[in-house]
């Protein structure tokens, strides 16, 4: 067994264990952290497949940003520990159907027949002698201009939608205006008054 194959089995085992932990652990924070481990191991696997851009993007976007949002949501929601396995048997058939369909789709996608005939899977990047990121960049900015710009439109729509959904104006909120605070003069705030002495006479 080559070193790469060993690495593959190691990462695959960690990934399967971590993804099992995601769905079985009771504490939602631990589940989210297990999901982080799953993503990270998946990135390692993709590195083994020479898909370096996807691997870095997975770490950057999912581990770095999406999981931060997940943890954020999980930690701030009003849930402590999930209830037990209640409803497990009622959800089991639907879950099995979904899992089977997904597995069938994956096998179909990978071209099971082609794999059984043998021969390595063709990789467009290595055939052209380019690195994965270079090939992706060239493809993205020559053949796939329209989808790329559509992605920008979708991201902008996401920004607008997020603001529209969550932004609430609240009246009667007292705020500080730092500029106004800094511009205050002594005479705006301070008034010197003469108070009568205890015997009634004014102080000199």
């Amino acid at each position: 067994m080559t070193f790469e194959a060993l690495l593959f089995y190691f990462f695959a085992a960690v990934m399967v264990a971590a993804s099992l932990a995601v769905v079985t652990l009771r504490n939602p924070v631990h589940c989210a952290l297990s999901l982080v481990l799953t993503f990270f191991t998946c990135a390692c696997l993709w590195l083994l497949l020479r898909a370096e851009f996807l691997a870095i993007a997975l770490v950057l976007v999912y581990v770095g940003a999406v999981m931060v949002l997940f943890l954020f949501v999980v930690m701030m929601l009003d849930i402590k520990t999930l209830p037990g396995r209640e409803g497990f048997t009622s959800y089991l058939p639907a879950g099995l159907v979904v899992a089977t369909v997904m597995l069938a789709e994956l096998i179909g996608l990978m071209g099971a027949r082609k794999l059984m005939q043998g021969g390595p899977v063709r990789d467009a990047a290595t055939e052209q002698g380019l690195s994965n990121t270079e090939w992706l960049g060239r493809a993205l900015f020559s053949d796939y201009i329209l989808p790329f710009e559509i992605a920008a439109v979708i991201l902008t729509v996401a920004i607008v939608a997020a603001v529209a959904l969550t932004l609430r104006r609240r009246p009667n909120v007292r705020t500080q205006d730092p500029a106004q605070q800094a511009a205050t003069r002594k005479q705006d705030r301070l008034r010197l008054v003469d108070l009568p002495h205890h015997d009634g006479s004014k102080q000199a």
Binding site: E4, L47, L48, R50, E52, F53, I56, A57, L60, V61, G64, A65, V66, V68, L69, F72, V73, M75, M76, L77, D78, I79, K80, S131, N132, T133, E134, L136, G137, R138, L140, F141, S142, I145, F148, E149, A151, A152, V153, L155, T156, A158, I159, V160, A162, V163, T166, L167, R168, R170, V173, T175
Partner: protein
């Protein structure tokens, strides 16, 4: 990229793990240990904790996180562009310009709406 090209990354990871472990070990070995009930109590700005930390938070925290994800995704698109932008010439530059323009429009919208203001 061949796997051997990741040797520097591996070295960095190893060094980072080593430094982290060393810092923790030094603290554990040398630092004085006088535990007490007050020292282990949850602490917030000097107040005694009076409520559970798990409570409903303002939705605008999530808004910040979502906006962060969107602009983080933008970076993921800029990476391959930065690698090849010498080869793809003016078209690539214009394309990325349009991409960034759209997202800057979104950014201006967010700014003008006051979504980045913290009341």
């Amino acid at each position: 990229m061949e796997l051997s090209g990741y040797l520097p990354v591996l070295l960095f990871l190893g060094l980072a793990a080593l430094i982290a472990a060393a810092l923790l070990a030094i603290g554990t070995l040398i630092g004085p240990k006088r535990p007490g009930a007050d020292k282990h109590a949850p602490y917030e700005c000097g107040f005694v904790a009076f409520e559970d930390a798990r409570m409903k938070f303002d939705v605008r925290y999530y808004l910040m996180a979502i906006l962060f994800i969107v602009f983080d995704l933008e970076i993921a698109f800029i990476f391959p562009w930065a690698v090849v932008f010498r080869d793809i010439g003016l078209i690539g530059l214009i394309e990325m310009g349009m991409f960034l323009l759209l997202l800057v429009l979104g950014f201006v919208y967010v700014w003008k709406k006051g979504a980045l203001e913290w009341e």
